[in-house]
Assembly symmetry: C2
Homo-oligomer: 376 residues x 2
């Protein structure tokens, strides 16, 4: 059937995977980066420009949307995709990660999480069923189970407790998921940096049976080396025939290292958030456009980039926009960064296709770590 | 010669004029609205979208650009048009209006104005020659003379003094203007609301000889009725074969009333500034998108509008973006407003062409003042 939610592994280059995910709202080539549209907007970007940059799927945050404008209103308005004018697939997280970050404003129990809105302090309760019901109402192409994501470092006991609770919530989330052709729900593997916990988590999630599996609880302070090490023994226990999604990651070199270890999907606020603070990702590393050395710099951000920003504007102009606090500065840097991330994934896919992933990795990282050339 | 700065009056419908202005950087059909790009950016808009909306000429502010990044840097970077990526004509004001608004931070003498930068308090001096030299360096298609724009109300004596000083500055500005094929410089008629002063001002400016004539010192608090009355006796004394530019005006009904009285060019921050505060201009009047009545409003801002915002997004979504303080809200409303102003001028030009300006005015104003329809 055309509309079935289905992942097809097309080819592999060692552990790096080239895949194709079919959904109700279109096909996605993996590995893929998902721009983050937290409150139903990819910050400081026109959605048509996100799409023109090659985005195949975007993410929205359940926590933000349940508070404002609320899932009831979004359902009334046709779901979050229609609401924001996005025709391609969209993934929602469970709301759990943001709520866990609320600190004193939240209380975790076995049934779910009680928390206070960061907007007005009003009280909310989120259970696996409620989170899933909300995501059903938002009409997300891909929903995520509610899980408990603990900080790093955490004791083995604490890691085990949270992993087991996440498994209970996985089952309840799965039961609440409304099956629709071409829609999917992902379970989330937890267990911090412990191989045995990650293994149990994967196996039990597979027993429940999800349409894809995410890796949670990483990029929370453990560092790249430990993240890569954890990925090595985690992806190993994940199904080959389902998409694997590393949540909230990351920097360009994180993405490359994770693809190398068998990850298919990513999301991160870094390209848009950095864009708003004046940091650009380029093939020669990051550039802080606010730096005075760019005052008369006629070069584009990145000579190797074909984005709207690099094709039309000098670093001198972008520097001026940031100094003058013009919104256009945020708009142009966010656009460049999103384009950079999407093209990176495109290049990664091509390198896997031609079994040249290692070569691509070496070439990219060497150039990326060489640093920006000084203006002569 | 192709590149000569030249205004051609194509036809008239009573006092409303249809014209064509040839410049070094392209032709402009008048009457025209010029979006304002204060610091070399039309705020919260991609310039390609300003152009796609039909903008034929934009304005930049000399005061802002001389302070940051400075005319020396902009000249080094190829002029303000190249700096910001705009290939069509661009007009710069003289810097005078912003400086006059600085209040205690400035001191006017016969030679020019001493003022302190609002950015860092450093001292500057602007004379007619310096203002013109800066505009030469910015490479503006159209430059403006330095004038003294006084507030309203002002005594007859004060109005006369400022008008005469503006005439002295007109001559000095004209002498400092660097002649280039297809570039032009406009004189500015002053004299507050006094017919005899406006007449003297016009005649003396014509004696000096400019490529176009602006009307300054209006829309400074005198109200629409008095502005229209002043226009009636001011345009009357202005050359038929040169463009007439009413500076800093205005609301949609101001533009229509001024065209009716023989004005050809306008600029105003209203469409972009209003866009950033949640006010949209529509064919049924203004709409405050932050109003709670739009929470579930599936309609576009304006059923009669073909802009990107109206074709793709509901009022409910725009309302949400403003409530969530998403930059995209400012971007989409600014875009709609700029498009609305540009289409208004397009419709005005068509109505003059078909000698139906009065009919257009009546139809537009009746609908515009009818007010937004309530959601049923």
């Amino acid at each position: 059937m055309n509309n079935k939610f289905n992942f097809k592994l097309i080819s592999q280059d060692k552990n790096a995977r080239l895949g194709n995910l079919t959904t109700a709202h279109g096909e996605i080539e993996t590995p893929i980066f998902m721009p983050v549209g937290t409150a139903a907007s990819v910050k400081a970007m026109h959605l048509k420009d996100v799409e023109a940059s090659g985005a195949q799927i975007i993410l929205a945050n359940t926590y933000h949307l349940m508070l404002r404008p609320g899932q009831k209103n979004i359902k009334e308005l046709g779901g979050v995709r229609k609401f924001m004018g996005w025709n391609k697939p969209l993934l929602t997280d469970s709301g759990g990660f943001q709520i866990m970050s609320l600190g004193k404003l939240r209380k975790i129990e076995n049934d779910g999480v009680t928390f206070k809105s960061h907007l007005d302090g009003s009280k909310y309760f989120l259970s696996p069923k409620i989170s899933t019901d909300i995501q059903n109402a938002l009409d997300a192409t891909i929903s995520m189970q509610l899980d408990e994501c603990i900080p790093f470092p955490a004791s083995y006991e604490e890691s085990e407790r949270a992993m087991k609770l996440s498994l209970e919530w996985a089952l309840k989330s799965r039961e609440a998921f409304k099956e629709r052709d071409g829609y999917g729900q992902f379970g989330i593997v937890q267990g911090s940096i412990h191989a045995d916990l990650r293994k149990v988590s994967s196996q039990k999630l597979i027993d429940i049976g999800f349409d894809g599996y995410a890796i949670g609880g990483l990029a929370v302070g453990e560092g790249q080396e430990l993240m890569f090490k954890t990925l090595d023994f985690t992806t190993n226990n994940m199904p080959v025939d389902k998409p694997r999604y590393l949540m909230g990651v990351g920097k360009p070199d994180d993405l490359i290292g994770a693809v190398k270890r068998g990850v298919d999907m990513f999301d991160c606020v870094l390209p848009t958030r950095s864009g708003r603070t004046g940091q650009a990702f380029t093939s020669m590393g990051t550039v802080n456009i606010k730096n005075a050395r760019h005052i008369l710099d006629k070069r584009p951000l990145d000579n190797n980039c074909n984005c709207h920003t690099c094709k039309n504007f000098s670093r001198a102009y972008l520097h001026h926009l940031f100094k003058a606090q013009e919104i256009l500065g945020l708009m142009l840097l966010s656009w460049h960064n999103i384009y950079f991330y999407i093209k990176l994934m495109e290049n990664i896919r091509n390198s896997i296709k031609f079994k040249e992933f290692d070569k691509f990795e070496n070439t990219f990282l060497e150039q990326y770590h060489s640093g920006d050339i000084e203006l002569i």
